[in-house]
Assembly symmetry: C2
Homo-oligomer: 518 residues x 2
Amino acid sequence: MEVTRKNFKESLNAIYSAIEEADFLAIDGEFSGISDGPSVSSLTNGLDTPEERYQKLKKHSMDFLLFQFGLCTFKYDQSASEYLTKSFNFYIFPKPFSRNSPDIKFVCQSSSIDFLANQGFDFNKVFCNGIPYLNQEEESQLREQFEERRSQSNGSQSFISPSSCKGPINVPDEQKDFVNKVVEKVEGLVKGTDKSIHLEPCTGFQRKLIYQTLNWKYPKGLHVETLENEKKERYILISKVDDDERKRREQEKQEKEQGELNDAVGFSRVIHAVSKSGKLVIGHNMLLDVMHTIHQFYCPLPQELIDFKEVTMCVFPRLLDTKLMASTQPFKELITNTSLAELEKQLKESPFKPLKVESAEGFPRYDTATEQLHEAGYDAYITGLCFISMANYLGTFLTPPRAHISARSKLIEPFFNKLYLMRIIDIPYLNISGPDLQPKRDHVLYVTFPKEWKTSDLYQLFSAFGNIQVSWIDDTSAFVCLSQTDQVQIAVNTSRYAESYRIQTYAEYMENRQDKQT
Amino acid sequence: MEVTRKNFKESLNAIYSAIEEADFLAIDGEFSGISDGPSVSSLTNGLDTPEERYQKLKKHSMDFLLFQFGLCTFKYDQSASEYLTKSFNFYIFPKPFSRNSPDIKFVCQSSSIDFLANQGFDFNKVFCNGIPYLNQEEESQLREQFEERRSQSNGSQSFISPSSCKGPINVPDEQKDFVNKVVEKVEGLVKGTDKSIHLEPCTGFQRKLIYQTLNWKYPKGLHVETLENEKKERYILISKVDDDERKRREQEKQEKEQGELNDAVGFSRVIHAVSKSGKLVIGHNMLLDVMHTIHQFYCPLPQELIDFKEVTMCVFPRLLDTKLMASTQPFKELITNTSLAELEKQLKESPFKPLKVESAEGFPRYDTATEQLHEAGYDAYITGLCFISMANYLGTFLTPPRAHISARSKLIEPFFNKLYLMRIIDIPYLNISGPDLQPKRDHVLYVTFPKEWKTSDLYQLFSAFGNIQVSWIDDTSAFVCLSQTDQVQIAVNTSRYAESYRIQTYAEYMENRQDKQT
Ligand SMILES: Nc1nc2c(ncn2[C@@H]2O[C@H](COP(=O)(O)OP(=O)(O)O)[C@@H](O)[C@H]2O)c(=O)[nH]1
Ligand SMILES: Nc1nc2c(ncn2[C@@H]2O[C@H](COP(=O)(O)OP(=O)(O)O)[C@@H](O)[C@H]2O)c(=O)[nH]1
């Protein structure tokens, strides 16, 4: 189901109940770009530490916009032995909801935009009808703004604002005439038979003076509000009201404001519901999805990885990454290509079993034969399918074998909260709910050289040492993994008198880096 | 006429000849945002110097994308006493043209995007079918790349690449087997009757080794090229060729590359043509348009304003800004609102004369009654109309009065190369072809204060000094213009012992700023 600003409010209950009844959820995001700094290959060095990788992604990926969010809910129907799915494809855009709301800037990367354009992505839907959102801080700021306005407006209990309650307000000389004329008019209103008057459009500063003056002179019996005419000019309407009328208007205003607040929080409400459900959330290669989701709908990402893990566990208490699952035993041996599309294909073949999955009533069917890859809702759906296939495969090892393994089974617990780390040679995943693996890197050299060098020059330099593995850092440096640890010292020693290049051990390199940072 | 990547090449001649025959050109750009830093009001302080304003716009506006460009050409038909117009509305997008091309990142501002979305702007057209472009440096880099490849490839005269001409190349141990097998195959090809063989897909590094090895072993008689199969894998095709065949293929390749280069330069060719024509280029409030055009299609903007003026005069030797014209005598008295839409309306009424303007054959008519404002092509068209109305009005002052004033008339020269400066109190324009006005600012104070202060606090502080004018700089500082210069010293003196705020003269402020900069 496609969800835009146009049908968001009316779909919200359906979304909430889909989440509520689900056994697990699958998610996927589409972004306006991946890296605003280095090329993706140097963004993902083969020997990054988890902390480094987090810092790089935080620095170079978070200014992009998550503008499509896929959510697919999976509910197991015991009687029919099948899963029922409800798939939602949300278009997201930070439309400013009022003149004072934050004016978000986001970056687009032309290669990513071009890629999505080629997939038939509908940018007009994003930019014209995307659902707005607020993070938690913006939400409470807006709430406070509303409350402040309410407590200042002359209809509420503390109708005299703090700054004006001590007596007549300061009106600048050149505004005195203006304000006096308004007071005269209001005097006429109070004494006459008219119910209300509207003033000519005027500046915000003048409106403020009017509010303050009337608050002070007429603490009761008047309702003052700012309206807009057809020319979008703002003017003030002043009405005589009795107490009941005043209360009714206040209530109305309050409800309207609550509605506006809800509209502004917008898509974040869906993420709040996912979070509150505590359900298992599945993604494919989902680290960036999780980072963007938290960054955009909760709070700016914390400085340190350890704090990010903590926030993540609050927002998504149980995560599972199908790319990590597919790269782990017993799947590793069976699956040659873990990209989502290829994984989905391979899981349709033996030894994996065909799935019984149906779209719930009223939800359009996705057909995996005619791929709609890279639409977030479809990708989330496929990701869920992959999870079910792999989970069920684990059931075949039980005695007796079980055809269906639920999202609550102990068998899948080993995969919880481990997010796939792309292209790191020796650390397969980021462990969200604990410390990370710390592989020995004592066979690794850090080599610096002139920028003319190519991979072949490195191969040649180390030709005496057998097989090597090169991870480029930038133009003039790379990590080189030797096949044998005892060669490290030899390499370092022979390089001592070299002029064009320099070799350090990985340990020396890390020490230097830490010195530089502190 | 709408121009996208799809019809760009076939439209190019029409565009060129429209420019060639025109009496003047009008342009307009739409951007993905205006300011990525401060709010627009502090981006445009009322007391900026021209240098400051340039720096601010350069820093805070150039990361946005100019993604729609309007060009409207105006040609006067003497016999019919009317203008013929050709209007082009270009969609622009930096689609990466190959795997090695620059991957542009650009910023979007949600308020601008939302504004355009509400005008019915078609983002899909931009992102799916936008015309690519290169600036001058990117163009020459690409040209060099092509030339380098050509000079390295084994078909051209210097077919042995510099790095491999000195003998057998260095093949890393683990690649030797691979390369030897290829050489065996090629040996078979050379001796056998087959015309060509294609190799299995392999890595870029392996392809490089193949190129180098074959260059060295078979300097003549072979044509080697990289192709792509249906799976997008790259493989090498090796063909036996005689000298004629080799030359023919070289020529073909060269023409293909020239075509690719032209495609990549794309929309920049239109700006080159505008520039080369030397024609009068009209815009409305056009400083940002000019800056973006130069930045995107020529070169990164220079550090200093004076160099920017020089570059601008090279690219656009004659500019005219209708907003500046409308704000200058004799129009200033007649025109109350100089925004493009309002200006156009006012110029339809007395004392201005109705215009005779027609769309050239084959070009769709714009109807100013049903506005299509904020489509760049339409805005350019309207801008041209405004210019004509105002120019003709100047003709009424001649004796005898003249109904038509051409773009070459001396009467409009006073308006040349003066670009409207938004919201600067005392400097109406940026003078592109000379030094800027240097108004005295000896009635101006620089005031700093706690961030709780409001405009009203400033009015109160200076209540003894009569009328003042406030220009906010940021949360805690503002310029205050006094109505009388002799009050400046009094204000500074009375502030000497103040604790919460500080007052300096404008001269002191400027001195401090320069000290800080050097
Ligand atoms: N005391 C008081 N001031 C208000 C109230 N509403 C608006 N104002 C003030 O009047 C100014 C004008 O507000 P408004 O007419 O809503 O639009 P604005 O000009 O865009 O801010 C605001 O900046 C507030 O400082 C109110 O309910 N009570
Ligand atoms: N000497 C020589 N090397 C080439 C030529 N074309 C490509 N190469 C090299 O082979 C590598 C592979 O090139 P290519 O197959 O076009 O695609 P790539 O793998 O994406 O760079 C390139 O990076 C070049 O270094 C050529 O014409 N002559």
